[in-house]
């Protein structure tokens, strides 16, 4: 039961974008390490605040809501 509730909570967080930053960090860690030739800055992920800013601005560039 507790497992199910936890899974549901994870689902709600994913759906609302509550965990978007955690997802981003995970993606970053998987893809941006140990690559030769990358500048120092490229290895530092965005801060939570900066990421959220960019995420939100990007989200509303296209058609996101219908009739």
């Amino acid at each position: 039961m507790l497992e199910k509730l936890k899974a549901f909570w994870r689902y709600v967080r994913r759906l609302t974008g509550d965990d978007a930053y955690e997802q981003y960090l995970k993606h970053f860690a998987d893809n941006h390490t140990n690559q030769e030739g990358l500048a120092e800055e490229a290895l530092i992920p965005l801060s939570r605040e900066a990421f959220f800013k960019e995420w939100q601005d990007k989200k509303w560039k296209g058609i996101k809501r219908c009739c």
């Binding site: 967080r13 974008g17 509550d18 993606h27 939100q56 990007k58 058609i63 996101k64 809501r65 009739c67």
Partner: protein, 673 residues
């Protein structure tokens, strides 16, 4: 399942008795959806589209952790459904209920399983196979530049009409209602508080901020009741339609220029939560309560004399109910947006087809909420003063003369119960839906709070109508900047303030004009704007189906072409007939030109009362403009169809056509082989 479905449908269709339980509607809908999903959708996915579970999707191949992200199918379903389901499926069925419950219900069910859901699913599939390209890009790549331009212009114009008509719905819900107006006004600062919370105070904590916002919204609904009863404050929120229209126009401009994090994004969270919550609550309430439908299966208004909008059952029921049966707008979400999240092609059936079925179910519930009302009450709320008369006594006499019982006392008592000063001629569908929802909620969860439920329902509709208004104005602005950027590159820069202000003002002026005319029109404006929106939306659906049909033919799947071809043919018939009638009909309540000529003749003869004569020149101009706009929509539609047929014809003869732009297959690393 089949037997239950058939018996439920026949119970609805053949019932001619006093009343029928809403449970039959729910049962019929669920059976039809289940059968269609299990067999038709599965067959299309496996045999026609040939879904390949082992093929990497754009989300996997182009994964960047930001917009392309392979995502759990239930999460994608949630996003997709939240994006496609707006106010459309609530308003359309309410208006179409003037024909009786049967035509609208059948069209919602059949249109969705054979048309709308197929359109959404195949568009999602084709966009997924093309790096999540948008409908406009696919039209250009697969059919040609004309098709691409048509899709772009069509989208832009739909946006303008849609925002105008939705603005009108909100204005009519707030007109002379301090409770509704103050509640809707409160949603703006509440959204801003939520915006600050998740931008500055606790960045990215979407759930905390939204929970806070929803609590504040509920308090705002209750607070509105307090303002309603406060003599000094209620005057601040008691306004004419025209004043409210100007406020909405000013608001729309401000919202389009402001940064998204301040208003649009937080409001969207709130509206999505409130929408999902309310729709679920409504479904639960209908199942607990099992209300009876009071509207007859068919009314005498199938002959075209209906008070809410003029025009015969065919083609106007198919135009009035767009969202809920088939909506071209969905193709814009199914292409470009949702494919970027799709982790596996096998999810396409559930997301594309399934989400549309759920939207269709929302439309069925709106139909139930409209038809549980006594027909006399339903027509008293939804008939414009221009049709039934301004005075309550005249309106009641007129509605009684149609054979629907209603009395002035009954309407006054109802208005009092709902906490409103009057419910006569509250056109646009929102107030009648709110009365229907309030009576369902009131009966299921306690009657003492009818007025609270009513204003909760109004807030629920207004908040996501305003989200559509904000988001639509902004998208319109981006599209305009994109187009103008081709002429003067600087205009195309989305962050250049003069361009932002100029293009936002243009977009707002576009829908603001139609909203203004709709408000000053004594016939309520909805009767003009909603069919125009329906025609435009069905035109976009036809364009999406054209693109899909063209791709099917070019992929060598001509023998299956009917899955998109059949709904396409039907939409072309319906849209062209409706457009023809809207332009050329002699009936002044249907034909734009006839109405313009009639009004001009009356104005010249001096038979109009002074207040009507003052606005007549504007109304005449508007009717003519609407006629040209409709002609333009039909012309665009036919250009795309001929373009598509020409491509098909060339392909059949073996002549060169634009190559298919499907991206080459790459095996997925996400599935175990």
């Amino acid at each position: 399942m089949l037997v239950l479905g058939v018996s439920a449908v026949s119970a609805i269709a053949l019932n001619r008795g006093e009343s029928i339980s809403a449970m039959w509607f729910i049962t019929a809908a669920l059976c039809i959806y289940a059968i269609a999903y299990r067999f038709y959708a599965a067959w299309i996915a496996a045999t026609v589209l040939v879904i390949d579970e082992t093929r990497a999707t754009p989300a996997e191949r182009l994964d960047n952790g930001r917009d392309f992200i392979p995502t759990n199918k239930w999460v994608v379903f949630g996003h997709h459904f939240a994006a496609i389901a707006g106010p459309g499926p609530l308003v359309g069925p309410t208006l179409a209920a003037q024909f009786g419950y049967l035509p609208g219900t059948l069209w919602i069910l059949i249109g969705a399983v054979l048309g709308g859901a197929v359109q959404d699913m195949v568009t999602l599939f084709f966009s997924t196979r093309r790096n999540a390209r948008s409908l406009g890009q696919m039209a250009r790549d697969e059919i040609g530049p004309i098709g691409g331009a048509a899709a772009l212009i069509g989208t832009f114009l739909i946006m303008i009409i849609l925002i105008a008509v939705l603005g009108l719905v909100v204005v009519n819900a707030m007109k002379h209602s301090p409770w509704a107006t103050s509640t809707v006004a409160a949603t703006i600062p509440i959204a801003m508080i939520v915006g600050f919370y998740m931008r500055n105070f606790r960045p990215g904590r979407v759930l905390e901020a939204s929970t806070l916002g929803v609590i504040l919204l509920l308090l705002a609904v209750a607070g509105g009741g307090w303002i309603e009863h406060n003599e000094s404050l209620r005057g601040l929120f008691d306004h004419e339609g025209l004043t409210l229209a100007w406020v909405i126009i000013a608001y729309g401009f401000a919202a389009a220029v402001m940064p998204v994090w301040l208003l649009l994004a937080p409001r969207d969270y709130l509206s999505t939560f409130v929408k999902l919550g309310t729709v679920t609550l409504l479904a639960v309430a209908i199942i607990i309560l099992q209300p009876h439908i009071h509207m007859p299966a068919l009314t005498q208004f199938t002959d075209g004399s209906g008070p809410i909008f003029g025009g015969k059952l065919f083609p106007f029921v198919f135009i009035t109910i767009a969202c809920g049966a088939i909506s071209g707008f969905h193709a814009l979400i199914s292409s470009g947006t949702t494919p970027k999240l799709l982790a596996n092609e096998r999810d396409i059936r559930m997301i594309g087809y399934g989400a549309m079925l759920l939207e269709s179910f929302v439309a069925i519930m709106a139909m139930i909420a409209a038809t549980v009302l006594e027909p006399g009450v339903f027509f008293a709320i939804n008939s414009p003063a221009g049709v039934v008369g301004k005075e309550a006594i005249d309106a009641v006499a007129k509605i009684n003369s149609w054979g629907f019982a209603v009395s002035v006392e009954q309407m006054n008592q109802l208005a009092k119960d709902m906490g409103e000063s009057s419910l006569f001629a509250r056109t646009g569908g929102a107030p009648s839906l709110a009365v229907g929802m309030a009576s369902i909620f009131g009966n299921a969860f306690g009657k003492s709070m009818l007025a609270l439920w009513y204003h909760f329902a109004i807030m629920f509709e207004a908040i996501f109508i305003l989200t559509t208004l904000d988001a639509g104005t902004r998208v319109g602005r981006f599209m305009l900047q994109d187009m103008l950027g081709n002429i003067w590159p600087k205009m195309g820069r989305t962050s250049w303030m003069p361009s932002v202000i100029f293009t936002s003002a243009l977009v707002v002026a576009g829908w603001g004009y139609f909203l203004y005319i709709g408000v000053i029109d004594p016939n309520g404006g909805v009767n003009i704007l909603w069919p125009l929106f329906g025609i435009a939306n069905q035109m976009l659906a036809a364009i999406a189906l054209c693109v899909a049909t063209g791709i099917l033919v070019k992929s060598g799947k001509s023998k299956y072409v009917w899955i998109t071809g059949l709904p396409l043919v039907w939409l072309v018939i319906v849209t062209s007939t409706a457009a023809w009638q809207k332009i050329f009909s002699d009936d002044v309540r249907v034909g734009f030109l006839a109405a313009a000529n009639d009004l001009a003749a009356k104005l010249a003869a001096g038979v109009l009362p002074p207040e009507k004569a003052a606005v007549a020149p504007q109304l005449i101009f508007n009717q003519q403009l609407d006629a040209y706009l409709t002609m333009f929509f039909v012309a665009v539609l036919w250009v795309v169809i001929i373009d598509m047929l020409y491509v098909t014809y060339k392909y059949m003869l073996g002549k060169p056509v634009l190559p298919i732009t499907e991206v080459a297959r790459e095996p997925s690393r996400l599935v175990e082989s």
